[in-house]
């Protein structure tokens, strides 16, 4: 949060004040091994009142908040190096949760407040919208691979079988009836096929999935942002792991919010409206929107129209 006292004698906010507040907000120094990768601006406020555009308004104290994301400097440069190593130029960097959030939510949902949770293979990314602004992003270092690993160890099978079991028989929450229901490991009459109670699978998965949501809730609480009334549009889930049957129920129980799986971005061909692509589509949307803004309604040239056609944007 950055604060500045409005400089001029007539208490009207000028661009210098905005500059000052912004600088103040971003001043927090990082340790040498970290680097900022994103500053997400939160609303300005004058004398405690939120304002859309502070210029030329009256007041004494101008404040602006930024949600700043920083990362390990070495890891980031390694990633950038990998890309430039294959002769591609990186023109921008964005957090994938923001990318997904931007493309999956309607404006009304952003205004009502929503929590987008992208559960991938290795990690779960989330972004919290409140009153139209991004106020929190986070990562839980747990994903679908962890569910598979848990099953592999718990059912005492190899990873491939565990993955198949998860997809074929998995449910995100445990039901008492699962104890008497049996399922086959391979289910195709191979020798060495094993039968076990469905409860084994669902108990293992439920423990892991509920933990992911519990950690997200912890992070919201720690940031003083767990205010259900401000997250009226609830939880929107995406990412490959969100395909897990019953995952909305577990999200609902852990987070105490309405939860649903996202149908995918609006203006995209049906083949691409698939949970695994939200992140990538979000990145494309962000990049294209950036280009659009740059060109100020000028006629788009180059790769842009082709991409448009391919993706049905």
């Amino acid at each position: 949060m950055g604060t500045t006292t409005v400089g001029s004698s007539d208490s009207v906010v000028r661009s210098a004040d905005v500059e000052q507040a912004t600088v103040d907000a971003k001043r927090r120094k990082l340790t040498a091994d970290r680097t900022y990768i994103h500053h997400i601006q939160n609303p300005f406020s004058i004398d405690g009142q939120q304002v859309e555009n502070p210029l030329s308004k009256e007041g004494d104290r101008l404040q602006v908040g930024y949600w700043s994301v920083h990362a390990d400097r070495e890891i980031v440069s390694e990633s950038l190096r990998v890309i430039s190593g294959i002769d591609l130029e990186v023109s921008d960097m964005i957090i994938s949760s923001i990318a997904s959030g931007a493309v999956l939510l309607e404006e009304s949902e952003k205004d009502n407040g929503a929590l987008v949770v992208d559960i991938g293979g290795g990690t779960t990314d989330f972004v919290l919208y409140r009153k139209g602004f991004i106020v929190l992003t986070g990562v839980v270092p747990v994903g679908g691979d962890h569910i598979t690993n848990d099953l592999s160890i718990g059912l005492r099978v190899g990873r491939k079988s565990a993955e198949e079991s998860k997809i074929k028989n998995g449910r995100a929450y445990y039901k008492a009836e699962d104890r008497t229901e049996k399922v086959w490991l391979y289910g195709d009459m191979t020798i060495g096929d094993r039968e076990y109670p469905l409860a084994a699978i669902t108990k293992i998965i439920e423990a892991r999935v509920s933990e992911i949501f519990d950690i997200i809730k912890d992070q919201l609480v720690d940031a003083d942002l767990y205010v259900p009334a401000d997250i009226a549009s609830g939880v929107v889930m995406t990412g490959g792991t969100s395909r897990l049957v019953g995952i909305e129920e577990v999200a609902r129980r852990s987070l105490g919010l309405d939860a649903r799986q996202s149908e995918g971005p609006r203006d995209v061909s049906p083949d691409l409206r698939v949970p695994e692509y939200s992140s990538a589509l979000g990145l494309l949307h962000y990049a294209l929107k950036g280009q659009e803004d740059e060109q100020q309604h000028a006629k788009p040239v180059g790769i842009f129209p082709r991409l448009r056609d391919i993706l049905n944007f």
């Binding site: 970290r34 994301v69 920083h70 990362a71 390990d72 890891i75 390694e78 990633s79 290795g122 990690t123 986070g138 990562v139 839980v140 270092p141 747990v142 994903g143 691979d145 962890h146 598979t148 690993n149 848990d150 592999s152 160890i153 718990g154 059912l155 005492r156 990873r159 076990y196 109670p197 409860a199 084994a200 108990k203 293992i204 423990a207 892991r208 933990e211 950690i215 992070q219």
Partner: protein
């Protein structure tokens, strides 16, 4: 021929170890000696073990180490001579230790060092604390086991969280500790009966030594037991899903495998052949599997299978990511313990977001794969992480998130 002169001693070190040894019943194997070493005088008086040694009287006045590793270590160091006398001149010494506290975690290394010097074959059963016992005990246990592993010829880790999976649905904490005692009992019993009784297929100390040739390395241990009905098939099934064989840390290659089978008079060669072929299929190793089969007249229509395998340490250059010092030198455990920093303290201070998350995992995994599939890090920390074994630890509020959630929360998963 049974080794009439074979000298075996089972030594419980520390409170948990002493309890476990006290509960081992080796009815017909009276040649085996038992002993208890502890810093807690009261615990020793309560123990049924006849040969006892109170160590560190000058340090603790018989009041125990109070969970302090330094005190346990000092206690053992102060009574080296007495320990050496107790250890004596044995062919096989089996140490039984519960890690996490003060005495077991530290004194066991001193005892092991002394025992190995006598030329005896030294094996150790080491229980690791439950998740709910907290992170301090976990760290102490990990450091202690990592150290002990290098000093003995075979170390069998028994994580209580994993053993709990074999208990009943409503297992209480006390029951849970008893489960560990049972597992230790099974392992010890299987070893002793194999060595001391003439078998259908006989194995002796030489066979055991051929499996556990060098100190260090990784030992795999599992058992299966069944009676009545199709007990051969049931015992095999039981063995194949033994939780100790599925902790996600199975080495790519097992150097030596020993399988011992104990059955009643009805155990014929035909059944033994069947068992051998099934086990060979499952646990194929570079060398042939060493098989032992023993008849126990007190049994009938029952079978117990025990597997012990060793994967030796590969020679390789330590990487930057290495925590443990794995040189097979004769550095005293004290020196090495001192140089082993416990860097997990740093993790606790960092915010979750500051840990380079999935990107770091990719990097570490790539590094590990590039260095060759034969490697494994020998950190106790990496057991139970399975797929994530070679990546950085995934610490959030003192928990390693890569370890299965159901294990950390003590949720029992029944597979039958």
């Amino acid at each position: 021929m049974p080794e009439a002169g074979l000298k075996i001693k089972i030594i419980g070190v520390g409170g948990a170890g002493t309890n476990a040894v006290g509960s081992i019943a080796l009815a017909d194997l009276d040649k085996v000696q038992f002993a208890a070493i502890n810093t807690d005088a009261q615990a020793l008086t309560k123990s049924s073990i006849k040969e006892q040694l109170l160590i560190g009287r000058a340090v603790t006045r018989g009041l125990g180490a109070g969970g302090e590793v330094d005190i346990g270590r000092a206690a053992a160091e102060s009574d080296r001579e007495a320990i050496a006398t107790l250890v004596g001149e044995m062919d096989l010494i089996i140490l039984v230790v519960g890690f996490g506290g003060g005495t077991g975690s530290a004194a066991a290394c001193v005892v092991a060092e002394i025992a190995a010097k006598t030329g005896a074959l030294v094996l150790a059963f080491a229980t690791l604390p439950f998740h709910f016992e907290g992170s301090r005990r976990k760290r102490i246990a990990e450091a202690g086991v990592g150290e002990l592993r290098k000093l003995v010829h075979g170390l069998i880790p028994l994580p209580n969280d994993v053993l709990l999976q074999e208990g009943e649905e409503d297992t209480s904490v006390l029951n849970a500790f008893a489960i560990a005692d049972r597992w230790i009992g099974r392992g010890v019993h299987s070893l002793c009966i194999m060595l001391l009784k003439a078998g259908l297929i006989n194995q002796d100390l030489g066979s055991l030594r051929s499996v556990f040739q060098r100190r260090g390395g990784k030992t795999i241990f599992g058992t299966g037991i069944a009676s009545g009905g199709d007990y051969v098939k049931d015992a095999l099934d039981d063995l194949f899903i033994c939780p100790l064989l599925h902790m996600g840390d199975r080495p790519a290659q097992l150097d030596r495998v020993l399988v011992n089978v104990v059955g009643g008079a009805d155990l014929g060669i035909a059944k033994v052949n069947e068992i051998m072929s099934q086990v060979s299929q499952r646990f194929g190793s570079r060398e042939d599997i060493v098989f032992g089969a023993v008849i126990d007249d007190t049994r009938s229509e029952s079978l117990e299978i025990c597997i012990l395998a060793k994967a030796e340490m590969e020679q390789r250059t330590p990487t930057k990511a290495e925590n443990a010092n794995v040189a097979e030198s004769s550095t005293s455990p004290l020196q090495v313990l001192d140089t082993l920093g416990l860097e997990t303290d740093v993790d606790q201070d960092q915010l979750p977001q500051q840990r380079a998350v999935h990107i770091s995992k990719l990097l570490s995994k790539k590094k590990a794969v590039a260095e060759g599939q034969d490697e494994f890090t020998f950190n106790e920390e990496d057991a139970q992480r399975g797929y994530f074994e070679k990546t950085d630890r995934n610490v959030y509020k003192d928990e390693d998130l890569d370890v299965p959630t159901y294990l950390r929360r003590g949720i029992k998963i029944k597979l039958r």
